[in-house]
Amino acid sequence: MKDTMKKDEKPDQWEALFGKLRKVEPAEPKPFFYARVQARLARRSEPQQPVPAWWFRPAYAVAGLALLVLLNLAVAVGYQNPADSPAPAESETYDGFLTEYQLLQYNWDTADE
């Protein structure tokens, strides 16, 4: 009997808790709400800086595209033959680095002598 009462009580407790939400007083937005909505609308209707008409002329589009193709071709041709590329600078090799900075090369074979 006691258990059934407990089971019956639980849902009512939850419903009572959720029901408290109905008693929550509505909050008020800050004063001058309408003025702020109007300001937002006014900002929205401000004309955007138009894109200049010459941007859309076909000559500019074709020229831009041609430049892009030309650059791609130049890069492709430039990297096709690696033999043509300049030799690495002296400092890129180990010996070159030692020579350039006037460092003595450590000789592992004669180190213990």
């Binding site: 808790l17 408290k20 929550v24 909050a27 702020r36 909505v37 929205r44």
Partner: protein, 187 residues
Amino acid sequence: MYSEPELIENLKRKDEKAFRYLVETHQRQVYNTVLALVQNAEEAEDVAQEVFVEVYETIDRFRGEAALRTWLYRIATSNALKVIQKRKAKKRFAFFTSLFGSDNQVNYHPPDFHHPGVALEDREQMQLLFGAIGRLPDKQKVAFTLHYLDGLSYQEIADVQQLTVSAVESLIHRARQNLKKKLSGSL
């Protein structure tokens, strides 16, 4: 004072008086619905303003199939959910960036929400309840909030969410179950 068809007609003609009437009549309803969902006063104010701007700009597309109030609820809830989604993305991003940061802390923590209309003696309990509502899945959150806070009937909620009444019943039932699970340890 306007009748609804009259108000809609005037809004379509971009009549300022009609728009002012709409805002002043519904601002409280829209603000409170949004506030309960986003649980942040500044964000709620921003979303509420955006709702009316959207109404002004899209009133031509309003075909009158639902009541104006229902349409407002629909715009308000969907805009509020967008803000919540953005916030979640921000939180995920903050967590991700924190993995590489020096402090190793999640940077974005929304503060606990205290609804200004809650009675003082219920404040702690309601804070926990609002926190749990905030963690419900979106559809459940909207249905539950519209029912308990806005006092909408299942039919009205079905119109707002564009669902059947039985789907709304199921959403609210699942929301209750989830809330009980979430709160049973802390209340």
